[in-house]
């Protein structure tokens, strides 16, 4: 197989796999939530309810696609595509296994950060274009929250970059051959996880769409497939953050006995399960608590982590 054919095959397979897995995730999440809340979750359609995703997508696709007359039409239509596109683009740099992955970018980590920072627009613009006060409030919250948490999301990863000496994700995985970075970078792992959840707008940090005060936040006015894109985008985002945590802190595809791909998928799934557990367990904080937590606890923590890591790396060199 020629080089370009291999890349194209990789691209299409990864895209299909990410989409399929993200759709499946909506079912996995509900089943897992059921497990942790003493109930079953969807178990009626197909074996173990796995065809629930088919039923859900049929329902989503056949709903009326409604653009409110008071909305800013162009921006309203544009917003949901941004979230899906940026999340999928960021997947291009994730090294899944030694020979699986779309591109091997020198600045892979920065590319991931850039894409996740562009993802904010979908929420902010969706909230603004809906021309609805609840959506607008959701958009405000999203803008402030994601901006705040982005700051230390990047800083939390700089410790990893210092240890690996590269922004290339494959180099970072290779640098964890002897010791996974979750041990020396435990602070970085904690802060990056928190920031990642906030970036993916997951409970307990889903203030942009907090149902019990803002109706549905930024996607109040969205229906049908436009809502579906937000939905898929959120699940792709969770998968992306989990894959990044695995790549940066848990040695990516590294592991004994099993093939690399299986190791990567297994680790990613465990991290996703932890995210779902977080959702099952924790309530949503108040907005000022969220902001204070980000700026007054997490940011100093990442700076301390950066200082210590820098000192250790310097003294070792």
């Amino acid at each position: 197989m020629s080089e370009s054919a291999r890349i194209w095959a990789n691209l299409i397979l990864i895209l299909a796999a990410v989409f399929a897995f993200s759709a499946l995730l909506s079912w996995i999440e509900r089943r897992l939530l059921g497990v942790w809340q003493d109930r079953y979750g969807p178990n009626r359609v197909g074996p173990f309810g796995i065809l629930q995703i088919v039923a859900d997508s049929i329902k989503l696709l056949t709903k009326e696609d409604w653009v409110p007359p008071f909305a800013d039409k162009a921006v309203f239509v544009l917003a949901p595509t941004i979230v899906a596109v940026t999340a999928l683009l960021a997947f291009a740099v994730v090294p899944i296994a030694p020979d699986i992955g779309v591109v091997d970018l020198n600045i892979g980590l920065l590319f991931f950060l850039a894409m996740s920072s562009l993802g904010v627009y979908s929420v902010v613009l969706g909230g603004w274009a809906s021309n609805n006060k609840y959506s607008l409030l959701g958009g405000f919250r999203a803008a402030a929250q994601m901006l705040s948490y982005e700051v230390f999301m990047g800083l939390a990863l700089m410790g990893v970059v210092m240890l690996a000496g590269s922004f290339n994700l494959r180099d970072i995985v290779a640098a964890q051959e002897n010791l996974w970075f979750c041990v020396p970078q435990i602070l970085g792992l904690a802060t990056f996880t928190v920031a990642g959840i906030a970036e993916a707008r997951r409970l307990p940090f889903d203030l942009p769409e907090s149902e019990n005060e803002l109706v549905a936040g930024f996607h109040t006015e969205y229906s049908s497939m436009k809502f579906g894109l937000f939905f898929i985008g959120e699940y792709v985002g969770i998968t992306l953050i989990s894959a990044m945590i695995v790549t940066l802190f848990f040695g990516g595809w590294l592991g004994p006995l099993l093939p690399p791909l299986v190791w990567f998928l297994l680790k990613t799934f465990i991290v996703i399960a932890c995210f779902v557990l977080l959702r099952a367990a924790l309530p949503r904080p108040r907005y000022d608590q969220l902001m204070a937590y980000g700026w007054k606890v997490m940011l100093p923590l990442t700076l301390v982590n950066l200082l210590i890591t820098g000192a250790v790396v310097l003294s070792a060199a």
């Binding site: 920065l110 950060l113 850039a114 904010v120 902010v124 909230g127 603004w128 803008a143």
Partner: protein, 183 residues
């Protein structure tokens, strides 16, 4: 590579033109974001991937979000768009347009004059090199910029600080705990 450069450069110019002519502020900002992204691609093609990534993260991803945030907060309606359209009369944009045309002519002259200096095909500048350069020959510039940012930080801190008098309506115990929180 050459084609990518010219394409993204054309996108950047077109998007910037749209920024100036849009009546709605949010639409203008959206075009500005597109322009910044195109500039990032230009940087990437020219062999500066680090700068390209930072352009997207900082300019497109952070600063522009703040702009959008503020514009959203201002809640500009149709009246603002109408006023904006009134300002876009030839009389208003003729002066700046002539000056810009002069600059453009100068740029073209320089580009045509230095035909030998190829744009693409330069070796990529990686992040390590950028760091060494910043903290080597350009250390003074970095320090000055950081001082400027520190001044901004202190100013923002001062503006955001709740003085005791502002909290006078609150009970004493509340103000006490708040003072502690900010300290």
């Amino acid at each position: 590579m050459e084609a990518t450069f010219y394409l993204s450069a054309a996108v950047a110019v077109a998007a910037t033109l749209m920024v100036v002519t849009r009546a709605s502020a949010v639409h203008a900002l959206l075009y500005l974001i597109v322009s910044l992204l195109a500039v990032a691609v230009v940087f990437f093609v020219l062999g500066a991937p680090f700068v390209a990534a930072l352009e997207v993260i900082i300019y497109a991803g952070a600063i522009m979000v703040l702009f959008v945030f503020v514009i959203m907060m201002l809640n500009l309606g149709n009246a603002a768009a109408v006023k904006e359209r009134e300002w876009l009369r030839p009389g208003m944009w003729m002066g700046p347009a002539i000056l810009s045309a002069l600059l453009l002519a100068e740029l073209i002259y320089i580009l045509v004059g230095n035909e030998g200096a190829a744009i693409a095909g330069r070796a990529a500048v990686d992040s390590r090199e950028v760091g060494i350069t910043l903290f080597g020959p350009y250390l003074l510039g970095v320090e000055l910029a950081s001082l400027l940012l520190l001044a901004g930080l202190v100013g923002a801190c001062h503006l955001g600080w709740h003085t005791e008098s502002a909290w006078s309506s609150h009970s004493e115990s509340l103000s006490d705990s708040h003072g502690h929180e900010h300290g």
